[in-house]
Symmetry: D2
Subunit: 443 residues, 4 copies
């Protein structure tokens, strides 16, 4: 299964969403439940201690729990059996007290998510840092802005990188917010009434959440999956933002564009010795495709029957693991690509010239509009541009003989790409200021 | 096209996302742009006034703009032509100044979203109000809690409704938050540098946003679609929550369960005269399926090329309209179903009895565990339950001859469903307290 | 990663889509390429033999290939390096001759798919067999037909099972067809021109496909992913059909319906000792949710750039593995549930009576229409039904005093559910005849 | 609603999936039912004639039917009421005889699909014709093959177009197959037993299908949605294939690549007078995004409860309309782009030269491997390529001083791109032969 994870997902992140990680988290939940019971005075302290001690991961066998779990549809029930067997019959009646399998699975999901999200956020920080560095370094480097994949008017590489930065900041902020406040303990008992805990239910639920350092939800959320769906959506959005940047990189690295290149030794081909593919960008995009799929399970799992779902819930575990892993995989791959990015400023400049001035046609049209009116000015520039494209001459040459009312020096100045950058610099500064401010807040 | 909208979407909401609504919003954007230019001293005041006057919707023909828009891939370009034609050549050079088609389309999208979201939020408020009313009215009404579609242990209808309430509050809060702060004006010019506005770019962008009462983004967001994706995700999540409630209603309304029934005259069938289908619930679920599809376009549209996308952006318009419409359709249908819901408390009570006490087996097992230990107690109760299911006798009868250490009165008391409701009441109160607090905040 | 696979996917199927399975398939492709080259007279026979011998799987390390593959974005390139190292420099120039990494990966994907599809089809055959057996055994067993989750008019359990049967036959036929003719070898070289094979390209491609017993495509299909998408779609449809049956089972197993029950020892709960959940049905539905996600990657991967995709292709490998695994998981879980299904005919009969005749209201309305006309007849029956629902009396009782023109015996006969089964039996026979015919064709 | 349809979808196709089209189809179903009843001797001939006459579309009001349909969740029930009102009470009892609303809706869906699919197939034929013409015209035109968005080795524009052709042929064949045999009449009555038709059920169902020239399904397929899902999947795959071609066009039309350009007057911009965007390609991709969403509703709608779904079915109508419309929209836009495509062969040739020979590095490495061995040869070429990229010199220049064992003439010959086209021509011929053969079959 998932035979290709190691190709895309950092080892630490694979570990964070592994079976062992889930097992540890499930045991953490059982331990916290025992401790909360003891704190509430419901479970004798020494019994809670015995249970807590039995929640050490060694000795439990994940694959075996899964095998046994097929019978009931989840691995929590066999885990409880194993825990009971370990603590002995005397203590057993205090184990898993008041909880249902879903309490343990959902709480474990939150713990797994917290751990993995930490790594995902770290990778995203690498990406924002790299974007910020590029934005700062190339604040004033002119390049062609491109719309619908065609040169439009000039921009700067700094502004392009700033645009990436802001998008990742937007997406990352939501993930950080969900990690901070959106991960809640689950404790409701069989159907969410906490009945098996008698009058102590709410207090134990509170203590249980505190033990685990998770939020306490308004109500048990066995079939209110908004927090799961929001997590899925936020991971999906983050991956989508990363894929956008990856796509831009791949486009900029095209042989015919050649404005950036991923550094390092990578990008070889089994057939073509000269290839230096944009492997980081490609991997980012591949991860984002998988991310989208896993996240769709999480956002699609909102529709759950009554007090526990007959299928939609059980699909979440695999999907959550995958969504966390591939969001991190996308971020790691992109961070690597951006950190080692080789930027060819000369080529950016050269590409700005290949349209023979057409890339600044907008400015010329605005200028001419003052004298000729908007419609006539645009028609004149459009016609000249089309002719230029056909003849291969520059736009200035095509305009030379026409009654534009401008001197050839004025035309030439108007068609100089590097002086038509508008507020690019100021906008870069604004993005960097936000980045710096948010970083300070973090620290 | 969309031949079935009227079946599911309230007329007012259909209007809010209609072509005319988009047209009005696009003209609002053009007007705001002229006004902002005037305020910044870039456009002469009387020219701005002339443009603003020409932005009255009457006289523009949406279908014709679409026809002409096929040539360029969007309706904003022909709209600018029409606007230019209307104001005359003198004024024309001040119209659409500094903007690109996407500025107008994206800003219009935000205005359309604001208007439609208002209606969606209203419908969601109807839903929360109805849920709160049900939770309050049936706070202590026992019913079977059901897991994996089988009776598990008792709960209350109040807690069930409170669970619905909290889920909708969660989902609605996010939508309200996005409507409040997540809708931003778009003004970047051709590639986001604001170049055509010279040094006045940022100021005009600020004034433009203020004119429209929209947020100002850190940067132009032509290809940073996080806000669009977040809107799509939040609408999707809201619809999913509504579908969950619709599913619960449909399940509770089953002939064999019959605990609720949608009121009113609806639910007939062309073949079966006796049918009283849960049409509101069914419509909610149908809307949610369509919602999911439209929203997926929005979350999938993050991956956009360079400074303007070659396809993904152009798909957003239809998808945004649909996502807003069907989220509102789902909410309206569900609100109707909940507001008129007929709740059969007697049937809920009766259904609690059909397992002959098995629905409280958990309590019995806990009680016996004190004396027999966890494992033995569960085995005893499980065996008795299985026998009871086979013989058709009650669990108490099956236990009668066994050495449980309990008197028959104790067994009977343990197997009384209505006294095993745990903290259901307290949890309902907590949910209602949150509802009341959030409503006060709103007001 | 995929920490939960063993919960849902049979071990043999996990093996079929494992890293080792992919590795073996990639080596099979390299071996076939060498053999084809030898057969075409391009590669010396002894060199081909040496390469073929080096394609034994032992000694290759999948995880290491993935680690090295990160650099280039796929594991085929490092595999070629490893193969080259194994055969030695002399032989190396004949290894991987004329192929590109994608040739090996795509061909391996086809081989993995063929192996795994075989298992999936076997599981689906178990499902069709079980459905056919149920249809035959319960051909004439009356039960309530249910529309919009409410009792409508009677049907038979045989017809219900026949409906399941036909849907699975439909879905399975497509998968079998794709396994038979839709799996094609991939050999195109770097960009699909077969240039490195000189004039021998087409012949070697033909021999290569023959060696692997795969179809030969019209053209290399590096970025024509129709066959991958069709496979994904067919797996998705199969899983959807299985989920529909799983849903029906879960609904029929509801405590209040109780018409079927999954046999065996399964279905326990960690909290509730009496529970006998429909675990097979639940697992089927969980698998189908995951299936849908994996399949969506495959159908979404059609949009690939030029001669090799920069991301979409690389996402296919994991998704194909998952789609095959979870389709099989869904089928295996459902087969188990259906094979052990306990059908409660008495309960089906009893449930037909709980509406007091309303479940046959359609027949009564048709009968009355002969005398009263359609509209009046329907109104009369509808009113009586509503009154009956309110009073709790039978429909016959409500009709007793009315001028229907029917004797009470006629009314009673009309309201007998078991005589209003229409062509159910004939339809069951038709489905079974198709099943038998298709099985014969297979054999 | 769908305020943007006219931007993307041909008017005829919009009409084919419009409310009026659905209404006509529903009336066609009612008429066929009456006729079938008459042919079977169940309905008096003059009554059937009266009903058939009342099935003329004029006088029915779609929007009003939808309004009334909200009450019951579909427009078929109010249509039956309207039909009944039109024919009068005498005749009414023969109208809609034996059918349920879903019979009419599903049959109408098939009729709408047949009509719209005809148009979609026509547009796809335009695409295949255009691809074939390009493949034929540019059979031997060398251009850069590109993998991972970088120049790899040479190919021909003919082979590229042939690749598009084959993919569209593959996708179109499936759609044609489904239109031919996959559209089946639906007649089952309330729950699929045909009970209201007594013993005549199967015969009337057969005649009904014959009247409509639709296939007869093995069983009523109220909740066996395989044919709907297969249609959705096939439309999705067709759109995906079209989007791939659209993407290739947009990439080839990039300013820096400039190998193709969409002809005609289109592609202007509201800001940039020089722009000639690839609007057809962009529209194709936008349509494909929407297609994917609509199709996902259809493939997701397999999971339907019992004998009629409570939500999933009702979502199909809008989705089917949209899926048909946008598949056709994508095909129409792409057909236009391809038919008017301006191909710049000189630019293709020029782009082949920009790597200074590296685009043929594979051939050189193969040549050198004969003497140096595979590994050394590849290392030598790779190193030389990297140096060439840094120095800006040609690969031949970098190789000049090295001991390659080749003369400079041999190196030069090896690095001539236009002689390294492998079997491109033969492959084009093979694709065209298939195209011609399939066209003949059609005629």
């Amino acid at each position: 299964m998932t035979p290709f994870a190691s190709l895309f997902v950092p080892a630490e992140l694979q570990a964070a969403v592994s079976g062992r990680s889930w097992l540890v988290a499930m045991l953490d939940a059982e331990r916290a439940l025992a401790n909360a019971g003891a704190l509430a005075g419901v479970i004798p302290a020494h019994e809670a201690s015995a249970i807590a001690a039995a929640c050490a991961v060694d000795g439990y066998d994940w694959e075996q729990l899964l095998q046994e779990g097929r019978r009931v549809g989840n691995p929590a029930e066999p885990l409880v059996q194993a825990l009971v067997a370990r603590v002995g019959e005397e203590t057993a009646r205090w184990a898993h007290l008041g909880a249902t399998s879903q309490d343990i699975m959902d709480t474990a999901a939150m713990l797994v998510a917290r751990r993995a999200l930490g790594l995902v956020l770290d990778e995203l920080s690498r990406v924002t840092h790299a974007c910020a560095t590029l934005a700062r370094s190339y604040r004033d480097t002119p390049m062609a802005g491109r719309t619908l994949l065609q040169q439009a008017v000039p921009t700067t590489f700094g502004l392009k990188a700033a645009g990436w930065l802001v998008a990742v900041l937007d997406a990352r902020a939501r993930l950080a917010q969900l990690r901070e406040g959106g991960l809640a303990a689950q404790l409701g008992g069989a159907v969410g009434t906490l009945a098996a805990l008698g009058e102590h239910g709410p207090e134990i639920a509170r203590l249980y959440a505190r033990e685990l350092d998770l939020a306490e939800a308004t109500l048990p959320w066995h079939t209110n999956r908004v927090r799961i769906a929001e997590l899925g959506a936020a991971l999906d959005i983050a991956a989508g933002v990363l894929a956008k940047i990856g796509l831009d990189l791949a486009l900029l690295a095209q042989t015919e564009v050649a404005e950036v290149r991923e550094g390092g030794e990578g990008g070889g081909s089994s057939a073509m010795p000269q290839k230096r593919n944009a492997v980081g960008a490609v991997s980012t995009r591949a991860c984002a495709e998988l991310e989208r799929a896993y996240a769709s399970v999480l956002t699609g799992a909102l529709v759950q029957e009554h007090e526990r779902a007959a299928g939609a819930w059980q699909a979440e575990w695999e999907a959550l693991s995958g969504a966390l892993a591939y969001a991190g995989g996308a971020a790691a791959a992109l961070a690597g690509a951006l950190e080692g990015l080789e930027v060819d400023e000369a080529r950016m400049r050269a590409n700005l010239d290949i349209t023979g001035g057409q890339v600044v046609a907008e400015r010329l049209a605005l200028l001419l509009a003052e004298r000729l009116g908007r419609t006539a000015a645009r028609a004149l520039v459009r016609d000249a541009s089309l002719r230029a494209s056909e003849t291969g001459r520059s736009l200035a040459e095509e305009l030379a003989g026409l009654d534009t009312g401008l001197t050839s020096e004025e035309v030439e100045a108007a068609l100089e790409p590097t002086t038509y950058l508008g507020s690019a610099g100021a906008l870069v500064d604004r993005a960097l200021a936000r980045y710096d401010a948010e970083r300070e807040d973090e620290e």
